[in-house]
C-alpha cells in the first residue's frame, strides 16, 4: 500500500493554476468594466404589454451596442441594463427607482416608465440622485417641474394637441388640393382627450378656419354609438376627430360609422396617440374598418429603419414595430451616445453630454424624428409631429415626407 504524497512540482503547478484562475477574471473585468443603465417599466399589470414592448426594443439595442464593441471611449466597456417592474402603482414605481439608485450607485442613466404618472414618481427619485432619465411619456408635467436630469423624447401632450390639426389640414390640402372647412369631434371625457380638445375649443379651431359641426362627448364605456354617429350623418363634417381611450368604444364608433355608410373614407378619421396604431386595435377592429385612419404620434417607424423593422418583426414575432419598442431601442442608444462623448461612466458627465447633445445621425437619431437635442427643460427641440395611417392592415408613417414610408391618402368621397 502506497500513500500518495504530493510532489513539490505538482503543488507548484496547482498553485499556478489557482492563481491563474483567480487572476484571469479580474483582468477580464478590468478590461471591460460594464456600465449600468436601468429600465423601469410596467412588466406586470394592466400596462404589462407596453413594458414588454419597451423591453423588446431595449434587448435589441443592447445586442447592437455590445456587438459593435460596447462604449469605445470607455475601452469597449459593455453596456449592462437592469430591469425593474413598477408593477402598476406609483408607489411600486417609486420603490423600484429608489431600489435601483440605492443598490446601484454606479448607475449612469435610465429610461421608462411608459405611464406618465409612474415616470413622475420615478423621476422624483432619479432627480435627487442625479441620474439622467429618458422618457417617452407625453405629460407636460414631467418637464414642468424644473428638474435637471429628465429628458423627454416625445413632444409633450400640449405640443401634440397644438400640432395635430394644422398638420392634418396640411396633409388634406396637399393630397386633395382642398382645405377642409368643417370638423366633427367624437370623444370621451377622460383626461387626455379633454386636455387635447380644450385649446381647440378656446379659439384654436377658429384660427384654423374650421367650423365645429359635430361635438359629441361621452362617458366611457359607450353602450351605443348610434346617437353620436346619427349627428355625424346629418352634419357631414369634412373630417372627424376621434378621441377615445378604450378600444371597445373605438370599435363601437367605427362599426356604427360603417353601418351608416360613413366608413371607408366617406368621412376621413383623424386621431392622436400610439394606441391607435397598436396590433391590439387591429385585432379588435379589423383592417377593413381601420383603413385610412390617420393618427398623430410621438414616434413611429420611419424611413431609414427598414432593416431594423424587419429584424424586429422576425425576432419578436410582432406584426409591426410601434412607438414603444422603437423608444425602447432608441433610449439606450441615446445613453450610449452620451457615454461615448462623456468618456466616463459618470452620471453627471452623462447628463451633461445629453444636455449638449445634437445628434442627427447614428442609431439614436435614426429612432426619432428630428435631431436629438434638448432645451433647458429637457424637452426636444425642432421635433416634427409624426402622422401614421392605416394602410392595408399596417399603420405606416406618412408624415413628415422625408421620413415617411408611404404616401398619405386623404380619402375623398
Amino acid at each position: 500500500m502506497t500513500i500518495h504524497t504530493p510532489t513539490r512540482r505538482s503543488v507548484t503547478a496547482g498553485l499556478a493554476t489557482a492563481i491563474g484562475a483567480l487572476a484571469a477574471p479580474r483582468i477580464g473585468r478590468a478590461q471591460a468594466k460594464s456600465v449600468k443603465i436601468a429600465m423601469i417599466a410596467p412588466m406586470s399589470g394592466p400596462w404589462a404589454r407596453q413594458g414588454q414592448l419597451l423591453k423588446m426594443g431595449s434587448d435589441l439595442a443592447m445586442e447592437d451596442i455590445n456587438a459593435a464593441g460596447g462604449i469605445k471611449s470607455l475601452g469597449g466597456a459593455k453596456m449592462e441594463i437592469i430591469f425593474a417592474d413598477d408593477s402598476a402603482t406609483t408607489e411600486k414605481a417609486k420603490n423600484a427607482a429608489q431600489r435601483l439608485v440605492s443598490d446601484h450607485p454606479d448607475l449612469v442613466g435610465g429610461f421608462g416608465c411608459w405611464l406618465s404618472s409612474f415616470t413622475l414618481a420615478v423621476t422624483e427619485v432619479t432627480e435627487r440622485a442625479s441620474v439622467p432619465w429618458l422618457t417617452l411619456s407625453y405629460s407636460d408635467a414631467i418637464t414642468d417641474r424644473g428638474f435637471k436630469f429628465i429628458f423627454q423624447t416625445s413632444p409633450t401632450a400640449a405640443n401634440q394637441a397644438a400640432e395635430t390639426l394644422p398638420t392634418a389640414l396640411k396633409l388634406a390640402e396637399s393630397t386633395t388640393g382642398k382645405k377642409p372647412k368643417t370638423i366633427g369631434i367624437i370623444m370621451d371625457n377622460t383626461a387626455a382627450p379633454i386636455a387635447f380638445v380644450k385649446p381647440l375649443k378656446a379659439g384654436g379651431l377658429d384660427k384654423l378656419g374650421l367650423k365645429l359641426t359635430v361635438d359629441q362627448i361621452f362617458t366611457p364605456p359607450l353602450s351605443d354609438a348610434t346617437p353620436l354617429v346619427e349627428k355625424v350623418r346629418s352634419a357631414k363634417p369634412d373630417f372627424l376627430l376621434l378621441l377615445t381611450s378604450a378600444m371597445p368604444d373605438c370599435k363601437l364608433v367605427l362599426e356604427k360609422l360603417d353601418e351608416f355608410k360613413l366608413a371607408h373614407g366617406k368621412i376621413p378619421l383623424v386621431s392622436n396617440g400610439a394606441p391607435f396604431g397598436s396590433p391590439e386595435l387591429l385585432k379588435t377592429v379589423g383592417a377593413d374598418l381601420l383603413d385610412g385612419l390617420l393618427f398623430s404620434v410621438a414616434d413611429w417607424p420611419m424611413k431609414g429603419q427598414e432593416a431594423f423593422i424587419e429584424r424586429f418583426k422576425k425576432k419578436t414575432g410582432e406584426a409591426f414595430l410601434t412607438q414603444d419598442a422603437l423608444c425602447g431601442y432608441g433610449h439606450p442608444e441615446i445613453l450610449a451616445a452620451a457615454l461615448e462623448t462623456a468618456g466616463a461612466a459618470d452620471k453627471l458627465k452623462v447628463a451633461d453630454a445629453i444636455r449638449k447633445m445634437n445628434l442627427t445621425t447614428g442609431p439614436a437619431a435614426q429612432c426619432f424624428p428630428g435631431p436629438i437635442k434638448f432645451d433647458e427643460k429637457g424637452r426636444r427641440v425642432d421635433v416634427p409631429i409624426i402622422f401614421a395611417q392605416w394602410q392595408k392592415g399596417v399603420p405606416v408613417t406618412v408624415f413628415p415626407a422625408d421620413r415617411a414610408l408611404a404616401k398619405p391618402m386623404w380619402p375623398t368621397a
Binding site: 417592474d85 413622475l120 422624483e124 417641474r145
Partner: protein
C-alpha cells in the same frame, strides 16, 4: 376591557416597538430600505384607522381609501395651490378625515353588515372620478430646494421614518385608549349584537359615528404623510381599490380587532410584496402577485383570525385569568327607592297599531301596567307579542297610538333612550355579546345607569349577584348554558336598575328544574320593587307567576284579567286550540 397591569404592559410594548424601529432606521444604510420602512409604518396607520371602526365595531369597510385619498389630496393641493407646508396641512387632514367620516356615516350607517361594506366601496371610486374630472390626474409636489425642512423635503430618509413612526405611535395610543374605555366597550357590544347593545342603553348611532370619524381622521393623516413621501399623486394610487384592500388585508392578516394586528400585517406583508416585486418582478413579471396571493391564502388558512390571535392562542395567553374569587365583589346595593306595589300605572299603551305592508301586526292594543305589578302577555305564535315589546322599547315606532311611561310619552324614542328612561328588556333568542365575559356583558348594560366605569362594574356585580350568577362572572358568554344565558341577560337588563323590565319569553326552552330557578329570580326582582312585564306563549308557568294576563291574537287584544279567569275564556281557548276545543271545553264544563 383590559386590567391596568395589562394596559401598562401594552404601553411598554408600544415603546419597545418604537425603539426597535428607531434602531432599525439607523442600522439600515440604504435609502431604499428606509423608504420601505416608512411605507410599512404608514400603511400600518391606515390599517389601525380601519381597525377602529371595523375591528372593534365590526362594521367592515371596503372603502377606507376615501380617507387616505382625501388626506393625500389635502396635503398636495394645499402645497401646490396655497403654498401651505405639510407641517400644517397634515394635522388638518385629521379634520378633513373626521368631517368626511361624519358625512359618509350619516347616510351609510342606515345599512348593516355586508351592505355597509359594499356601500363604503362606492365612496373612493366616486372620489376617484371626481378628482379626475377636476383635472387632478397627476399631481407632483413642487420641489422646494429653497426651504426643504419647512416643506418636509428631507435629504435624509430617516426623518420620514421618524415622522411615520410618530404617527404610528399616536395611532397605537389612540387604539389602546379606545380599547380601554367605554368607547371600546360600546363598539365591542355593537360588533357582537347591535340590537342588544341599543336595548342595553348604548347609543349605537353615536358610537358608530364617532368610530368612523376617528377612523377617518387616522387614515387621512396617514394619507397626508404618504403623499409627502411619494411626492406624486394620482387618483388611482390613493382612491384605487388597492389602497382600500390594503387597509383590510393588513388587518385581516395580522388580526382584526387587536391592537397589534394591523402593525403585524404591515410589517410582514408590505416588505413581502416589495421584496417579491424586487426579486421576481424582473425575472418573471407578474409572478410576485401570484406568490403574494398564495402566501396570504396559506397564512389565512393556518390562522383564520389573523396571526396575532393565532400566536396568542399558541402561547396560551388568550385564556382569561381564571381567578373569579380575586375580583372584588361589590356588596349588593339595595335599590335606591324600593317601590311599593300599585302606585298607579307605570306604563300605559293606548290604541297602539302598527302594520307591515298589508299585515296588521298590532291593532288598537291597550295596556296599563301598574307600578310594582308583574303582568303577563300571552298569545299564540304570531300574535304580535314581541312586536309589542319592540314598539315599547323603541325598535319599532308605532303607526298609531300613544305610549306613556311614568307619565311621559316615549313613543318613537331610540331604544337606548328608552333604556335610559328606565326600561330594560331581554330577548326571545338571547342576544349575548358572545366573546365578552359574563361580567362584561352586564357592564355594558350597567353603563346607562352608572356615573363612571367603576360604578358600572359595581352595578354589574350587584346585578349578577341578584340573579345568582356571580360565580360565572369571568366565563366567556359564548360557553354558557341556556339557563345561564337567560340569567345573564336578566342581569344585563337589571344592572342599570330599571323601573320596568320587559322579559321576552325568558322561560322558553328551559327544563323544569331550570324553570323554577328563573321563576324565583323573576319573583325576587318584582319583590325588590321592579315592575315586570313578561311575554310567554306557554301558559302553565305563567298562571302561577303573574298578577294579570293580557291575551293577544292576530295583533288584537282579545282578553285580559285575572290569569285563572283568562285561561277559561272561550276566546282564548279558541285562539290557542281552535273552535273544536271551545266546544269540548264547554261540554265538559256542563
Amino acid at each position: 376591557m383590559r386590567s391596568p397591569a395589562e394596559t401598562r404592559r401594552q404601553r411598554w410594548a408600544i415603546a419597545a416597538v418604537a425603539a426597535a424601529v428607531l434602531v432599525l432606521s439607523f442600522v439600515l444604510k440604504s435609502a431604499y430600505y428606509e423608504l420601505i420602512l416608512t411605507q410599512v409604518l404608514l400603511w400600518a396607520v391606515l390599517s389601525l384607522g380601519w381597525n377602529v371602526l371595523c375591528g372593534y365595531g365590526g362594521y367592515s369597510s371596503f372603502g377606507h381609501a376615501v380617507f387616505w385619498g382625501l388626506g393625500a389630496y389635502t396635503v398636495a393641493l394645499a402645497m401646490i395651490d396655497l403654498d401651505l407646508t405639510p407641517w400644517v396641512s397634515i394635522p388638518c387632514c385629521a379634520i378633513v378625515g373626521a368631517a368626511a367620516g361624519a358625512l359618509i356615516g350619516f347616510p351609510t350607517f342606515r345599512l348593516r353588515g355586508h351592505y355597509f361594506g359594499l356601500a363604503m366601496l362606492a365612496y373612493p371610486l366616486a372620489f376617484l372620478y371626481v378628482f379626475q374630472w377636476l383635472g387632478y390626474q397627476e399631481l407632483a409636489l413642487p420641489m422646494r430646494r429653497d426651504a426643504p425642512v419647512l416643506y418636509m423635503q428631507f435629504e435624509d430618509p430617516r426623518v420620514y421614518v421618524v415622522l411615520a413612526l410618530g404617527l404610528m405611535v399616536v395611532a397605537l395610543a389612540i387604539s389602546l385608549w379606545v380599547e380601554n374605555s367605554r368607547f371600546g366597550m360600546a363598539l365591542t357590544a355593537i360588533k357582537q349584537n347591535e340590537p342588544a347593545a341599543e336595548a342595553a342603553g348604548i347609543n349605537t348611532w353615536k358610537w358608530k359615528m364617532l368610530a368612523l370619524m376617528l377612523s377617518g381622521a387616522m387614515s387621512a393623516v396617514a394619507g397626508g404623510l404618504y403623499v409627502v413621501v411619494l411626492l406624486v399623486l394620482t387618483p388611482d394610487t390613493v382612491f384605487g381599490i388597492l389602497a382600500s384592500a390594503q387597509a383590510l388585508i393588513l388587518a385581516l392578516f395580522g388580526g382584526v380587532g387587536s391592537l397589534w394586528g394591523p402593525v403585524i400585517g404591515a410589517m410582514v406583508l408590505v416588505p413581502l410584496a416589495e421584496g417579491l416585486n424586487a426579486e421576481l418582478g424582473n425575472v418573471l413579471p407578474g409572478i410576485q402577485g401570484v406568490v403574494y396571493g398564495v402566501a396570504i391564502i396559506v397564512i389565512i388558512l393556518a390562522a383564520p383570525e389573523g396571526v396575532y390571535w393565532r400566536v396568542l392562542d399558541r402561547l396560551g395567553r388568550n385564556k382569561r385569568p381564571a381567578s373569579p374569587a380575586a375580583a372584588p365583589r361589590a356588596p349588593v346595593v339595595p335599590l335606591p327607592h324600593p317601590r311599593a306595589a300599585a302606585h298607579g300605572d307605570l306604563l300605559v299603551l293606548k290604541n297602539i297599531g302598527i302594520s307591515f305592508g298589508g299585515l296588521r301586526a298590532l291593532d288598537e292594543v291597550e295596556l296599563a301596567v301598574p307600578e310594582g305589578g308583574l303582568y303577563g302577555i300571552i298569545g299564540p305564535n304570531g300574535a304580535g307579542k314581541t312586536t309589542l315589546f319592540n314598539v315599547v322599547n323603541g325598535f319599532l315606532a308605532p303607526g298609531s297610538g300613544t305610549i306613556e311611561f311614568a307619565g311621559a310619552s316615549i313613543a318613537g324614542l331610540r331604544p337606548s333612550l328608552v333604556c335610559r328612561r328606565g326600561i330594560g328588556r331581554t330577548f326571545q333568542v338571547v342576544r349575548a355579546f358572545a366573546r365578552m365575559t359574563v361580567l362584561e356583558n352586564v357592564i355594558v348594560g350597567a353603563y346607562v345607569g352608572a356615573r363612571d366605569d367603576p360604578a358600572a362594574r359595581n352595578m354589574a356585580l350587584a346585578a349578577l349577584d341578584r340573579v345568582g350568577l356571580s360565580d360565572r362572572a369571568d366565563a366567556i358568554a359564548g360557553g354558557l348554558t341556556t339557563r345561564e344565558l337567560r340569567l345573564m341577560e336578566l342581569a344585563r337588563a337589571l344592572a342599570p336598575q330599571p323601573r320596568l323590565m320587559l322579559l321576552d319569553e325568558t322561560l322558553a326552552g328551559l327544563s323544569h328544574d331550570d324553570l323554577d330557578g328563573i321563576l324565583g329570580v323573576i319573583r325576587q326582582i318584582r319583590a325588590d320593587g321592579t315592575t315586570v312585564l313578561i311575554i310567554e306563549h306557554t301558559m302553565q308557568a305563567m298562571v302561577n307567576l303573574v298578577d294579570h294576563f293580557t291575551v293577544l291574537d292576530h295583533g288584537r287584544l282579545i282578553a285580559e284579567g285575572n290569569p285563572n279567569d283568562v285561561v277559561r275564556d272561550p276566546r282564548v281557548i279558541e285562539a290557542y286550540l281552535g273552535k273544536k276545543w271551545v266546544e269540548r271545553v264547554a261540554a265538559t264544563a256542563n
